[in-house]
Symmetry: C2
Subunit: 365 residues, 2 copies
């Protein structure tokens, strides 16, 4: 095993591989060693060529790049992540990804992460077995730099585990505050109050809330703030709760609400999907017209809310801002252990699902 040139690992790789990669199986990927052998330099030279700011002569660099190109070499980020503390991987923990709001958020996050030189790994918690805890452990095992939690809520002990392992946590609209994490929140409570006021100004009197059985903090905050504001003003509100927060639930909620003797003339839906269902129930099954007979306000401003068939007045989620805040915090890195909190605002988006102000002044006017 002398230092003789018998160590030719990359036996005419260039020619062979170039000619036809279909040699056989070939599950082995090319490494820096192969490139070094082909270029006739040391492996360190290869490494330095791909490390910005390292000292390599132009000639060596050229040879290395040439060989790398011929072999199709890509630096192994996994091995690089071993020595560096950064893998560049960010785990996105999410359930019901196919939902319009969720998918828009994931799209924004993946795009911005990529622009920041990171890469997103999706961990799906749709199956019951896949709890948030399991998801976080998986993220940990891939040494993700950070994990973004879009669904569910991690146990405090698991969060500690992440923190101890140097994995930072981004909580989007979760209500607990954890060490070494950032919390991104939207003004759900304020939105609930604004919705109520909007209905009152429009002259609506028989108010209702349609929401799901999911106990997501955001949904609860929207519902509660609406109800509380109403109670403060001495108004009664019918509240109906059913199923998951999707279109079908909205349909069912609409039927339940509109069949009542005291038929509501305004429904605040905690989700746009629910709102679309309620609107369809009102129109198709009760022959009501919107906003003349029924005013509806939703939340999220999903694309469908802007469709001609709905023209739903709603609250626009600050998706881009949220994603930017998350990615900035992740990319910034190293900001100590103090939990950080960022508040973002969902702004009201007026369309045509709330009737115009009535002649008579609203009490809250």
């Amino acid at each position: 095993m002398g230092g003789g040139e018998g160590k030719v690992t990359a036996r005419k790789i260039s020619g062979d591989a170039r000619a036809e990669g279909a040699g056989q199986g070939g599950a082995k990927s090319v490494s820096a060693k192969d490139v070094a052998a082909l270029a006739g330099v040391s492996r360190a030279a290869v490494s330095r060529t791909f490390t910005p700011g390292a000292s390599v002569s132009a000639e060596t660099r050229r040879k290395v790049l040439e060989a790398a190109d011929a072999l199709g070499y890509q630096v192994n980020h996994l091995a690089r992540g071993l020595t560096r503390q950064q893998t560049g991987i960010v785990a996105l923990i999410v359930a019901k990804l196919a939902t319009p709001y969720r998918s828009a958020m994931v799209q924004a996050l993946t795009g911005k992460l990529q622009a920041a030189g990171k890469v997103a790994m999706i961990i799906n918690t749709d199956q019951e077995e896949a709890t948030v805890e399991l998801a976080l452990r998986q993220a940990l095992s891939y040494r993700a730099d950070a994990a973004v939690i879009l669904s569910g809520m991690p146990d405090r002990s698991i969060a500690d585990l992440c923190h101890r392992n140097g994995q930072r946590l981004v909580l989007i609209n979760r209500d607990d505050s954890l060490p070494g994490s950032i919390q991104l929140r939207v003004n759900d409570a304020q939105a609930g109050r604004m919705a109520l006021l909007a209905f009152l100004r429009a002259g609506c009197r028989r108010l209702a809330v349609a929401t799901s059985c999911d106990d997501t903090p955001s949904l609860l905050a929207r519902e509660r703030s609406f109800l509380e504001e109403a109670r403060t003003l001495g108004l009664d509100v019918q509240c109906e709760r059913f199923g998951a927060s999707g279109y079908d639930s909205g349909l069912a909620l609409g039927e339940r609400l509109l069949v009542r003797p005291e038929r509501p003339d305004a429904v605040f839906c905690t989700t746009d999907l629910i709102a679309c269902g309620v609107m369809d129930a009102a129109r198709q099954r009760f022959g009501l017209s919107i906003p003349a007979d029924l005013s509806v306000i939703g939340f999220d401003d999903i694309p469908q809310a802007g469709w001609e068939a709905y023209q739903l007045t709603t609250f626009t989620q600050p998706i881009e801002e949220t994603a930017s805040a998350a990615v900035d915090w992740i990319a910034r890195g190293e900001n100590g252990d103090v939990p950080c909190r960022v508040d973002l605002t969902a702004t009201m988006r007026w369309r045509r699902s709330v009737r115009a102000r009535q002649a008579e002044a609203a009490p809250a006017g």
Copy 2:
């Protein structure tokens, strides 16, 4: 420290690690070495404990698991991927993730990949700079076991690169066949013909196609098969093409088509989103009623197609089957270099956007 039933005191460790972590950054995660030290065994014993089928005594195993639990140890998948040939990472290359069809597909893929012990990495090609080539190189640099291409089409040379590096390719509805890859296709062409026949049976005579300027193979196949079948039968079809394949384009397409003197009474839309736009244009801007005045058929069967406001007759994408086929092929591994192709069928889903058969017999019998 003798090994005499060392009941590991979790509290002490945790406290220690906590303190250290809080000291500064604490980006270091716990490794097998740490666990070995705490458990009083060799590092190899730790490794074996977490390797199914390896030889470890019950006693050692217990000590290791206890220590691992106390420290919150997770096997480093990245380092494991170094020695094994498998990283367990599968790259999903996708643009416009927020689209209903795409997000549903990604949800299905991530779920099934996870169930198969893999994990999905999302590479977003929305930005112009992020071409499919770049995406594949990134996948390569993370040593993904496979890459699933949902958008765009890789150059042949890049595909060769992947192949040479042992990265397998899954092409979903792409038209090129590449070495070491699997191609999943849907019967777009058949669907186009079926749509035409459905219109004819319903007694429609003034046929039209609404599609986008995207040159996705699937969309082209749907459009062309519809047009060709019509020509075969000696029928004339108006074809309008505009923008990207989203709702807004559908709205615009509807306006362009319906303003014509020869107003169509049937429109085949190559996408459900386009179909929803066309329907809304017809109803809101031209006061038409569907299906009495206009029949519409879409493609994809996105959730909105089933909403009360649309009740769109369309073709159901075999999303679950496609995802299963992809994941099965990926998990199966090692199936030689011969390109593989799987054909799946999108089945027609009848709803209420095509009018019932007219009394007079359609020419196509």
